[in-house]
Amino acid sequence: MKLIKKQIPLAIVLVFGTLTLLTYFVPHKRSVNFLETMNKWENIVAAFAFFLGLINLFYSHYTKISRKADGWGYSIFVYIGFLAIAIPAYVSHGKNMDGSVLTWMGWAFKYIYNPLSATMFAVLAFYIVSTAYKSFRIRSLQAFVLFAAAMFLILGNVPLGQMIWDKLFGWTSYAISDIVDWIMHVPAIAGKRGIMIGIAIGVVVTALKIIFGIERQYLGKD
């Protein structure tokens, strides 16, 4: 049992992890074909897993409805939403357009899915404002530096801000765009690169831990 649940999966990870790593140094056609095959396998596994996900979704909402759990009414909308897209998709043979005419599925996407998706994305703008408000409360020196940098960026990115800057600080010979450029290309990039280098190293070490079986929690421990 241990052989099937532990050793074989670990061997698969070791072999295919090492081969995938080697493809970076081996440009041969066989290496390219290997990577393409692995990607195809990933897509096949994902397609099967999607069915599992769908079954899980329906089952969990069915349980909620049958038990009359709190908010069970919302679960009905999962089925309604699914049918509202799946039936038109079946009728339209999965096509959005029939010549220049919208199919049922195209209609469902254009008038149901897209507006809902756009609404969620639009809500983000309001959250950004509330987040900006929280960030700009000056409670410490660091918060003040953040506030000052943000103010320069706001001034530099709107025409009104540029006019205000020119009126008040035009005599300094520094345009607001110069300051914005400096903030974005010196301190912001420096911080960002620091984080990115840390992430890159972390990715390498985590990959090594998985390939060599040091980290095997995803298999369940011994």
């Binding site: 440009p27 041969h28 899980n56 979704l57 840390g198 985590t206």
Partner: protein, 417 residues
């Protein structure tokens, strides 16, 4: 006699006029010699399908001269124009390869001909192709001799030798650190966000409210998602020990399948397999904003005591974290997507930045083998710091002293090809 004199002066006048005209009128264009010493070869270190043409730079290579590259797959005729460029461009230093893999000479023209652009991809590696270079000046063209070459798939990227050396070094340090860990423990600095996990789970238990764990919208091939499943295992174990409730809504069904195993195992290890329920992990939607809307709804209705955001997030990060923040939950986030970090900083109580996400699994498990691997991360950072400092000094020195070859060597050493 007079007649003879006038005849002589007429001849002299004619000669004088022709001499003056000859001096002032434009010269007929000089014959442009055709390209000689043309060679064709396979482009090294590639998958195949690219040929490399070389010939010497000549004094005639002025901007008004054009070079045209022709390729043919047939034994005679069938020429296709593959490229055209001014004669004072395309020398050896234009090929993006490091000094140990390529002689970047400015004394020869080097042109890459990507055969895939003209012939089927399957036909370009193996068969022999013919090439010629035509020099064009004043609408007159002069063909070089015809050369032939085939392309092959290469087995090693010599240009990536610096990366290979670095990788081998990291391997050695990694195995040293792991073997070292077996003998004695290692110090690991405290990470506030991870220390707060106990507090968050304890709070949820006291309040009798659920804990939400969001593994992000990445798929299982992303290292941040894998790291998230490690943390989920440790969090689930603590949840099981406290007999609290955890919910894990998923965007990716593959991640859900893995997370199910991880959570089940964690409950088993905590000695509470009876508390494990199949609906802990729940698939919500494969669409980013549908997922965000659905999880926002769940959070608003159930008002969890603690929410963990660990993994790869995009625009939904703020949609989720702001809603979580309004419910008063303790929020701990961790992501390697640097664009989303500012949103988590503002909306969450604790945020794990990039590499801390990868270290979290080891930190929480206290497994010496896993913790020792963190030493490799420290070594990597040390190498980067030394490289940045040393590389910066040497490159600046080379720039100041105008040592161009030296500067190029330094740049090549630290470049990824």
């Amino acid at each position: 006699m007079i007649k003879n004199k006038s005849g002589l002066s007429l001849v002299l006048s004619f000669l004088a006029v022709t001499t003056v005209f000859a001096a002032t009128s434009p010269r007929p264009s000089a014959q442009l010699p055709p390209v000689t010493r043309l060679t064709a070869a396979d482009m090294p270190y590639d998958v195949g399908g690219t040929a490399l043409l070389k010939w010497d730079v000549r004094p005639e290579d002025t901007p008004d001269v054009l070079y045209q590259i022709y390729v043919s797959s047939m034994e005679s005729g069938g020429w296709i124009k593959a490229d055209e460029f001014p004669a004072d461009t395309r020398t050896g230093d234009g090929i993006e390869l490091p000094f140990w893999a390529w002689n970047a000479s400015v004394r020869e023209h080097v042109v890459k001909v990507e055969l895939n652009n003209f012939y089927g991809e399957a036909q370009t590696t193996g068969p022999v192709f013919r090439f010629k270079v035509t020099s064009v000046k004043d609408k007159k063209s002069y063909d070089s001799q015809v050369v032939s070459a085939g392309t092959v798939s290469n087995w090693f990227r010599l240009d990536r030798l610096n990366n290979l050396v670095m990788a081998i070094l990291v391997f050695i340090v990694f195995f040293w650190a792991v073997s070292h860990a077996k003998r004695k423990g290692l110090f690991i600095r405290r990470i506030a966000g991870l220390d707060a996990i106990d507090e968050a789970i304890g709070r949820a238990t006291e309040m009798g409210k659920p804990i939400y764990y969001l593994p992000g919208i990445g798929n299982m091939t992303m290292v941040s998602t894998i790291a998230s499943t490690f943390i989920l295992g440790e969090v689930s174990k603590k949840v099981a020990q406290y007999d609290s409730t955890i919910k894990v809504p998923h965007k990716d069904p593959v991640v859900m399948t893995v997370a199910k195993e991880v959570v089940k195992q964690a409950f088993l290890e905590a000695g509470r397999p009876d508390s494990y329920r199949e609906d802990i992990n729940q698939f919500v939607s494969y669409d980013q904003f549908s997922y965000a809307a659905s999880v926002d709804g769940m959070i608003s209705r159930e008002k969890p005591a603690a929410i963990f955001y660990m993994g790869w997030f995009m625009a939904e990060s703020l949609l989720l974290a702001e809603v979580g923040s309004t419910t008063g939950a303790i929020q701990i986030a961790g992501t390697d997507e640097e664009a989303q970090l500012p949103f988590f900083f503002t909306a969450c109580d604790y945020t794990l930045i990039g590499e801390e996400l990868y270290a979290a699994g080891a930190y929480l498990s206290k497994d010496p083998m896993l913790m020792s691997a963190l030493k490799t991360q420290d070594f990597g950072k040390l190498v980067v710091m030394v490289s940045v400092a040393l590389g910066g000094i040497l490159a600046s020195l080379g720039g100041l002293m105008h040592w161009d070859p030296f500067t190029r060597i330094i740049a090549d050493l630290f470049k990824a090809y």
